[in-house]
Amino acid sequence: MIKHFISLEWKSFFRSASFKVNLALKILMIFGALYFIAIFAALGAGSYFIIEEKMKQDPLVVINKFLIFYLVGDLAMRYFLQKMPIVNIKPLLYLPLKKDQVVNFGINKTIISFFNILHAFFFIPFSIVLIIKGYNPLGVIGWHLAILGLFYCNNFINIFVNNKDAVFYSVIGVLIALGALYYYDVFDITQFTQPIFQAFYNQPYLAIIPIISAFVLYKMAFSYFRKNFYLDAGLAKKVNIAETDNMTWLNRFGSVSTFLKNDIKLIKRNKRSKTTVFMSVLFIFYGLLFFTGFVEAYDGPFWRIFAGIFVSGGFLFSFGQFVPSWDSAYYPLMMSQNIRYKEYLESKWYLMVIATIISTVLASFYLYFGWQAYAAVVVGAIYNIGVNSHVVLWGGAYIKTPIDLSSNKKAFGDKKAFNLKTLLLTMPKLILPVVIYAIGHFAHGEVLGFILVAVSGVFGFLFKNKVFGIIEKIYKAEKYKTLAAYKQKN
């Protein structure tokens, strides 16, 4: 029996759409995976020395201190990305298989998931270094096993909380609050959690507790699914209660409002688009890598503009590059209606502009790193609105990847999204503003650099109608190809 399950899994993995790419891309993907593995391993082995050198503290103590945030971060990541084991089980339901077997298999599958293995690349080298450095081997092993148990607890907890947004967001909310309180020295949760993790080292036998809890959670996950193993219970698609919202307040946008209303609903009501919003929030913090001097290679002045473009433009890039693919599910409808392309594009453009402005306001905390940092964000925003919003929409016109709004699959890049045309269009998006800034910077100073970038942004704004005209032509010319491409579901 297990043989069948494994062969099914094997096929579903190797026949999945993401594997149907050419050899060169496959090799590239393998290198990419190896790269991440290497990074994690190096981080695991290296962090001991980094912490020892930079913080002059016991590395194990420091790691234990932050472990609580690491664990919660892991849980959050799983919640957003890790797929539920039960999704492909429907066709197996009526077959002569024992339900216990099917459920067991589904849950066991998660044990070898990428989300668990990833951490091994960090913690195994770290533990080895600890032993080499003369820590008590028994203690290290106990600590290591305890951490392992905790990650598996996360794994099984995720099975429960999946699709329970309210529970999840409140837990995350509380922990973010605790993180903030820690940062501002108001209340230090690590004071309470750090000794717990430390105890696993001091009393290795305590490791049995997280391992047992992982096991208990496994049993609970099992009985939870076993009990709900019906089409109308655990396997049912979650149906949201729909609110009809006519968004009359948007009518002030005139004829664009027809599409704008739809686009806002699209973002609000679909998983994939919500992930995009989440990612653009992460982009706001991307600049921290540059402005805090955390990564030394990013210290040059030109990187500021680079960071500014990303901080303000996270949504613009992640949403804009997939226009019109967001509407792929009902593209035949759009094409058989009298669509006013200009209004269609304008609606998406407004969304990107609004998101860019919001990001820029939220990013005002960069003032803390000096006025140059925030100036870079602001001129980045002007350039994004003036130039990049058009370029992104232009590039999107060439991307013919159907988007499945209800799933997060491929939310993180899609090989079809990278073709030569879109690659060429990244030049004006990222490199040009950096070059423009560099010219000003060298000719006179940073102020001129900022002014030049801002001016070119304003200047680009003048070409809006021209670019929209071009995009409309592309849409019309590529209509049949686009329709055919959207028809091919994975």
Binding site: A329, S336, A484
Partner: protein, 235 residues
């Protein structure tokens, strides 16, 4: 109203549709029947300019559909679920289509009120998104959306499939009414011979992309069609 000349569509040397000549006059209720792969949906897709013809062309009210978009304001269609926007509620969807077709909320509401029977209290105010409705209810919403904005040509692909018997009967009434009293040209495809003979004045049988029968509906039509298709089955 709709003229088809020398129309053909070929995929990789396989001709899936080849219609030399087909005229559909204004106000006709026109039925298209044929087995799977006969080319019904291909014909409708060509009519809506969703695919390009290999040869020939279709004129809709003297507008060449593959060249101009002027046919769009007076033509509407429901082919399949790709004509629905899953994350909208039915009401929002109707208003959206209404806005695209130049109808305000009141006009759409007035139209929807006429279809209260047809909806059978399963579409409006159900607090559900279109994607969460059953296949049959999705179809109801799609069909009614195709009636918004007083179109002169309505194209419905397999409108009877997935509908419950009551709704099928009501839909037949709606289609007849459109063609007979409102002068709308209605194009319908179906696998159900009884339904098409009930609603359509004219029935065209497609087989492997070719028109092999073109019948004005009469008492004898159903028998003839049944004989034809059981003959096909025996071959």
């Amino acid at each position: 109203m709709i003229t088809t000349s020398n129309l053909s569509k070929t995929y990789n040397d396989v001709t899936v549709l080849n219609i030399e000549n087909l005229d559909i006059p204004k106000g006709q209720s026109f039925g298209l029947v044929g087995n799977n792969g006969a080319g019904k949906t291909t014909y409708f897709s060509l009519l809506l300019d969703l695919i390009q013809p290999t040869t020939g062309h279709i004129k809709n009210n003297n507008v060449l559909v593959s060249e101009s978009e002027d046919w769009k304001p007076f033509t509407s269609a429901f082919i399949d679920e790709t004509f629905l926007i899953g994350y909208l509620t039915p009401e929002e969807y109707f208003y959206f289509i209404g806005e695209l077709r130049g109808q305000n909320k009141e006009q759409v509401d007035a139209l929807l009120a006429q279809f209260e029977d047809f909806f059978h209290d399963e579409i409006l105010n159900k607090k559900k998104y279109l994607r969460d409705l059953s296949k049959g209810n999705q179809k109801k919403a799609g069909i009614v959306a195709a009636l918004i904005g007083n179109p002169e040509v309505i194209i419905l692909d397999e409108p009877f499939a997935n509908l419950d018997p009551t709704t099928q009967i009501r839909l037949k009434g709606i289609i007849k009414d459109l063609a007979q009293t409102k002068g709308v040209t209605v194009l319908v495809s179906s696998h159900d011979l009884m339904h098409v003979t009930d609603v359509c004045e004219r029935i065209v049988v497609l087989e492997k992309g070719e028109v092999i029968k073109d019948l004005a509906t009469s008492e004898a039509t159903l028998k003839e069609l049944e004989a034809h298709f059981s003959g096909v089955a025996e071959v």
